[in-house]
Each structure stands twice: as C-alpha cells, then as structure tokens.
C-alpha cells in the first residue's frame, strides 16, 4: 500500500462492508485482528446512519416496528452511502427505496408516509424568511398581474398522495394507526414552517394546483389557468388573498412580456 490515497480507499471499502485483507499488513493488531479493529468503524458507520434515518423517518419506523426499520435502513445504507456531510440531508430518496423494497410490497402507503416525513424534515431545515404583505404589491399595475412570478417561502412543500398519509401520520403519533381507513382516499398536503415548528394541512384541488404551480415558478396567469381547469368556479382573488394572508409569499418578480 503505497500512499495515503490508496490507504483511505481501502479503509473506506472496509467501512462500507468489504473485506480488505490488504489492510492486515498496514494496521497494528495490538492483540486483535486488524479486521476486528476496522469492524468498530464499520459498526459506527452503519448504526449512526440508521439512527439518522430513524430521526428523519420516525413515523415510518413506528409503522413497521424498530426491527423491520433497522433491516430496511441497513439495506438502504448499503445501496445509498451518503454523498453529503450534513446528515439531515441523508436519505432524501428513502421513500423511493421503500417503494422498490420487496419486503415492503404489501405496505403500499409506506413510501408516501416517508415522502411526507422527508418533506417535513426538508421544511424544518429551510431558511426562515419574512413574508411580504399586500402593500408590497401596491406598485404593480393590474395589467401586469398575469406576469407575476411569486417566490414562495423556502420551507413550503406540496405532497399529492393517493393515501390518507396525514391521518396515518397523526394516528401513529397517538399509537392508533389501525384506526385509519386506507380506502378513504388520498390527500393534497401543504407543508411549511410556522414559528418554531413545521405544520401540514390539506388543501382542496384548485388551491393545491395553484400553489404548487406558483412554487414551481410559473406565472400567476399560468398557475391560475391550471387551477381553473380543476375547478372553473375557483375564486382566484380570494385564493391570492389567502396566499398573502397566510404569509406564504417571500418575494416576486415580473416575467418578461414575451414569456407568457
């Protein structure tokens, strides 16, 4: 083993679970097999990442129980080693992993519970921003309203689920997940910071479509058109009042006139 780079690559492979006999000649045993010493680091890697996942996905853990969660986490960690340093950013695709994890096949709602928890976690670690009031729009000409592009709060997230994941999440908090009727249908959720915490609530379809489109950077005209397709009676003026009144707009700009 000639250099530091090669050594770190070998130790890295060992931490990730491979046997690395080449390290036997490099590590002083001091009464133990070098592999037994490396195992201490491998154990820490696996258990600390499993703990990180559990802290981000506590409802998933409670829904499947600790042992199953540890089993799923171990498989996920093996398939997706972290690429980023901040552990609260680890496991962002855990929901997709669960969706394709054969032992979870029966738990069809589980990936969406994980998606909800991932969005809660992302909202919790988003910058805190000041919301704009209506006075910020006084100088915008009415004729320019269609070109408005809102910058919504950084913590805002939207989830369209085929399952009542909000009720599942709340029920498992109370230890009553069996009380939720999975056949009651899906939900459209808005997740955001409020004060020191993150909250979520249901929206009806046109409001959800409008806000999700605005969050994606669509112009007001384009987002409103999508909402009106869902409900031709949708009251856009009231919806905008609610958007501002709930403190969800952090900034705005006007799209170029030729872009709409």
């Amino acid at each position: 083993m000639s250099g530091l780079r090669e050594l770190q690559a070998a130790v890295g492979r060992s931490v990730l679970g491979q046997d690395e006999p080449s390290l036997d000649d490099v590590i002083e045993g001091d009464g133990l097999a070098p592999a037994a010493r490396l195992q201490i680091y491998r154990h820490h890697y696996e258990t600390s990442l499993a703990e990180a996942l559990k802290s981000i996905y506590p409802a998933v853990c409670r829904l499947v129980d600790e042992r199953f969660f540890a089993f799923a986490a171990q498989a996920y960690i093996k398939s997706s080693p972290p690429r980023r340093v901040c552990l609260h950013e680890y496991g962002a695709d855990f929901a997709e992993f669960l969706a394709g994890f054969p032992p979870c096949r029966e738990l069809v709602y589980l990936p969406d519970v994980a998606r909800l928890e991932q969005l809660i976690n992302a909202a919790l670690h988003s910058p805190v921003e000041e919301a704009l009031g209506t006075e910020a729009f006084l100088d915008v000409a009415v004729g320019d309203y269609p070109r408005l592009v809102f910058r919504l709060l950084a913590s805002l997230r939207y989830l369209d689920s085929s399952w009542p994941v909000d009720r599942l999440w709340l029920a498992q908090q109370a230890g009553q997940e069996g009380a939720v009727d999975l056949d009651e249908g899906g939900c459209l959720l808005e997740i955001r910071q409020r004060g020191e915490e993150v909250v979520f609530r249901r929206l009806d379809a046109p409001e959800f479509i409008l806000r999700r489109a605005l969050l994606a950077g669509q112009t007001l005209e384009s987002a409103a058109a999508a909402a009106l397709v869902a409900d031709p009676t949708f009251d856009l003026a009231m919806a905008l009042r609610r958007l501002l009144g709930e403190g969800l707009v952090a900034g705005f700009s006007l799209a170029p006139t030729d872009s709409i």
Partner: protein, 288 residues
C-alpha cells in the same frame, strides 16, 4: 491563542444538541458557552434562529465534524462555504475540527477516521488547514482523535504530529481529554506521557465526555460514544491537564443516550469545581 470571552473562561460549556434546544431557549442555563456542530444548522430553519437568539447572551463555539481535513479527496468547498456563512452569522469565539478524515471517492463515511502519522498525511492536513483558515479568515482548533487502531507505517508520534500542525499553520489545539484516555487504553500508550508531550501555548479548549467499554475478542476496547458521564480516570487526567496547561474553555460533550439537560449541567458544574480546586492548588488562581 486569543483570550476567550470572560464567561467561557470562568465556567464550563455544554454541547448543545437538538433535543435540548427548546429547554435551553426557554431557560438559558448559566453555562460558560454553548458548542454546536455546524452541520446541524447548515440548512437554516428555526433552530438556527434560536441559536442566533441564544448567541446574544452566551458565547457560541462551532465544532465541525465534516471537513475531513485529512482526506485525500480535498476540502469540499461547498461545505466550507456553508461553514463560512455560519461563522459570519454566529461570530463564534472558537471554530474547531478534527485530526481525521471522513470520506473518500465522494462517499461520506460519517466518522472521524484515523490517519497514519506520516509526512504525506502531515502535508495533506497542513494544506487543508491553511485552506480552511484562509477561507474563514481566522485560526481554527484541531482536536486530537479517539482511535481504535494505529498504522504500522506511522513515523511521527501523535503529539509531535499535532505540534507540527500548529507550527506550520498557526492553528490551535482542542485537547480532548477523553480521547487521550480512550486512545491510550485502546492503543497502549500512557495518557499522562501524551499530555506531557503537548505544547502549552496552542491549547485553546478542553473537551470532556463519557465513553463505554466493549469487549472485542476478549479484549477491552473503549468506545468514544459520548453517551455517559465523564469517567473518573478522565477527571483525573483533566486535573493533570489543568496542572500542565492552566485554565482553558472546557466543554462537556454528550451525544448519544442523551439525558435530561440537568445531568449535563451537573457535569459542567463538576468541571467548574474540579477546575477551581485544581487551579487554586496549582497556584494559577488566588483564593477568593
């Protein structure tokens, strides 16, 4: 090292972890300072706002775990930029990192992995400490690791390696008393002899923490898990460190099996009492 804020010089601090944040905000404890892992605050969010409010009346220290100063991948400049932004925002009185590496080939191994103590590793550490200090515009402290293995091809003793780092980069040292004890037990060196080999001037902070004892293939291995009270031999080593180095900002770290906040505060009070008694005995402070 520059002088620490008066509170941090007078009283021990505690490592502030997420589950204790609300209790600390509701009733800020009378500790010398609060130390946090910057990685937990890099996204922003309400927790960072709370820390900014706490910072108004308590010195803050940032103790990084993710720079991988000894890593051959090089410093992740995006991560360093995020650290620099936090340093600007929180104006901590100390910024520290570790003598270790944490990733290779773009994979983050979530640990403070041991380096061989060679000229090559020294050059990597020096280059990266220089890069970090230049970006932050201030010196950092580098912490001695807790180790479970050593490499046969190491040519430099750990205290001498740390001394070289301080001479070549101007960084200070974070002397983790528990790590010295844990590594000494695991690797068979005398913790007191290790202390005696460290230079006095660069020491900018002490860390105290608990460890656990595991049996591996019939051999006792001490694991630096920060999951219990500081062990008695570590308090004894702390007394010896105070005798050799004098007072420095001292931190109680507790990361796993987190107890009630009052338990941490009890450990901080014990560190204060040990410090006052030892420094009086050593003639570093007068009776008052």
């Amino acid at each position: 090292m520059t002088h620490p804020p008066a509170e941090a010089a007078r009283k021990a601090g505690i490592g502030l972890r997420g589950p204790h944040l609300a209790a600390v905000v509701a009733s800020p404890p009378a500790v010398g300072f609060l130390e946090v892992h910057p990685e937990n605050y890099m996204g922003g969010g309400p927790a960072l706002g709370a820390l900014e409010r706490l910072r108004r009346d308590r010195p803050i220290s940032l103790h990084g775990v993710g720079l991988s100063l000894g890593g051959t991948d090089g410093i992740d400049t995006g991560h360093l930029d995020r650290l620099a932004a936090l340093v600007d925002r929180l104006a901590p009185f100390l910024v520290s990192e570790h003598l270790s590496w944490s990733g290779v080939g773009g994979v983050y191994l979530n640990d403070l992995l041991p380096l061989p103590y060679t000229e090559e590793a020294l050059e990597v550490m020096v280059r990266h400490i220089d890069q970090v200090q230049t970006r932050l515009g201030r010196p950092i402290l580098v912490e001695n690791p807790s180790s479970y293995l050593r490499y046969r091809h190491s040519t430099i003793e750990e205290p001498a390696f740390l001394a070289e780092l301080t001479w070549r980069t101007g960084c200070g040292l974070l002397c983790d008393i528990n790590n010295i004890y844990v590594s000494g037990c695991n690797l068979g060196f005398d913790p007191l002899a290790y202390l005696a080999e460290l230079s006095v001037a660069p020491i900018g902070e002490f860390h105290l923490a608990g460890h656990s004892i595991n049996e591996v293939d019939g051999q006792e291995i001490r694991i630096d898990d920060h999951g219990s009270a500081v062990a008695e031999p570590v308090w004894a080593l702390y007394r010896a460190a105070l005798g050799r180095f004098g007072a420095r900002p001292t931190l109680i770290e507790w990361d796993s099996r987190l107890p009630d906040l009052s338990v941490l505060l009890g450990e901080a009070a014990k560190a204060d009492a040990v410090g006052v008694a030892k420094l009086r005995e050593a003639g570093h402070v007068g009776a008052s």
